[in-house]
């Protein structure tokens, strides 16, 4: 059952790369945004909050289409990036990572924000009296205490990135070896009259990947929780 074709292998590897890069790049950003939302009051906060949630609310195809219009070769940002920084998203795996990262972003931010909000401010005060500047308070206390949330966010984000396909296929198409992830491969297989067995095989693979990510994160989370609850 598990004889996986070379194209499929490539799709699997690509999915892993795309999801990993999307998650790893989005995490620090997500932490920053979560912190802003949890701790700061500023003009436009609701707007930022809404923007973060947007990819969840919009049909993925719409998000993909908006990405195409913005980051495409002819898009405003896309053209600028490619002219000035040489960064091209259009129809590259980097674009798939961008799409997955954006789709995963709300799932990443929320749990982190939740955990930051739950951090006992008195611990931060104690750190400040011991001479820790705000950013060191954040890195040594707040972020550490919010670790379970960071992990939860990363798991949700990674799982979403593995499953994402609507925005990806709309933004960077479904090019084998370049932008064809497991999910978009499954999509084209499902569209094919006799593609179901192959689709199910790939679905099984993505379940295995997600399961592995889940088990790993549970392990880390358990350790983090033990630390916090002090036993």
């Amino acid at each position: 059952m598990f004889d996986i074709s070379p194209t499929e292998w490539i799709a699997i590897q690509l999915s892993l790369r795309v999801a990993a890069v999307a998650t790893l790049v989005a995490t620090p950003l997500g932490i920053a945004v979560a912190w802003l939302l949890a701790r700061r009051d500023f003009w436009g906060k609701s707007l930022l909050d809404a923007l973060v949630h947007l990819p969840l609310v919009l049909p993925p195809v719409v998000t993909g289409y908006l990405l195409l219009l913005t980051f495409g070769r002819r898009g405003l940002v896309g053209a600028w990036l490619s002219d000035h920084l040489g960064v091209v998203f259009a129809f590259r795996w980097t674009g798939a990572a961008l799409a997955c990262g954006i789709m995963a972003f709300p799932l990443l931010v929320r749990p982190i924000r939740l955990s930051i909000e739950a951090v006992d401010r008195r611990m931060e005060q104690a750190a400040a009296t011991l001479g820790a500047a705000p950013w060191r308070v954040f890195s040594t206390i707040t972020l550490r205490l919010a670790m379970p949330g960071v992990l939860a966010g990363m798991v949700l984000g990674f799982a979403k990135a593995i499953g994402e396909f609507g925005a990806t296929i709309t933004f960077v198409s479904n090019i084998p070896g370049e932008t064809q992830t497991i999910s978009s491969a499954v999509y084209s297989l499902i569209q094919t009259p006799d593609g179901d067995p192959a689709a199910m095989r790939l679905v099984a693979v993505s379940i295995v990947i997600a399961l592995a990510a889940l088990v790993a994160s549970e392990w880390f989370a358990r350790r983090a929780l033990q630390r916090l609850h002090g036993n």
Partner: protein
């Protein structure tokens, strides 16, 4: 060292209106539960902003609402032993003790550390997490943590409250020594007149957010034998 406090602050219905200058090496804050001791100490530490007024140490202004000065807590170099120990739950005792040194980028001083851990009898707890400590152990680690950050002023909010008398007897002299030899000035909060007498060089008596007396040990209520209680037993049987 000269600590000058002249602040007012409202917390809900509670109003603090306190002015004093602690010239001595140890300023005692004495007052009933809810008198405003912790709130005052929080203001000195920079954790609570006065609504109006000034706080200064020697010539350095820490707070001045008129001049919009507010030195943030982490730049005050004021150590604080909280009424609730507030140990960092994700760090073990060793890391808790080391935290202030790291944050202030001080050189490692094993001798000092050994002295403090020995005195507080917490050498055996270094690998434990705060959740695995007894109430008194937690308080001792908090004291050690504040000391090892080498503050220029130490705020102690009932630091011996949860310690047994044997340990108090051991630690109090150490605090006296800190005061006299290392000349780390302190603000010491307690409702134990005996401790106050031991340690404080000047005493601020608080009641309902106001300073009602200021001076030497003579302002303290008279000590009752064996922990003040026997005088009242008649009424209770």
């Amino acid at each position: 060292m000269m600590l000058r406090v002249d602040v007012s602050k409202s917390l809900g219905d509670f109003h603090i209106e306190a002015s004093f200058a602690g010239a001595g090496r140890v300023t005692g804050l004495f007052g009933a539960s809810g008198a405003g001791k912790t709130s005052l100490v929080n203001m000195i530490a920079g954790l609570l902003r006065p609504d109006r007024g000034r706080i200064s140490i020697d010539s350095e202004t820490l707070d001045d609402t008129a001049a919009r000065v507010h030195v943030p807590a982490h730049r005050r170099r004021i150590g604080y032993v909280f009424q609730d120990a507030r140990l960092f739950p994700h760090l073990d005792v060793r890391q808790n003790l080391d935290y202030g040194r790291r944050m202030n980028r001080l050189a490692d001083d094993p001798v000092q550390r050994a002295r403090v851990t020995d005195l507080l009898d917490i050498g055996g707890l270094l690998g434990r997490r705060p959740g695995q400590l007894s109430g008194g152990e937690r308080q001792r680690v908090a004291l050690g943590r504040a000391l090892l950050a080498q503050p220029r002023l130490l705020l102690l909010d009932e630091p011996l409250g949860s310690l047994d008398e044997e340990r108090k007897v051991e630690i109090l002299p150490y605090l006296v020594r800190l005061r006299d030899e290392a000349s780390v000035p302190m603000v010491y909060v307690s409702h134990n007149a005996g401790e106050m007498r031991q340690l404080a060089t000047s005493i601020v008596m608080l009641r309902r957010g106001r300073v009602i007396a200021f001076g030497g040990a003579e302002v303290l209520p008279e000590a009752l034998p064996s922990g003040l209680i026997s005088a009242n037993t008649r009424t209770s049987r």
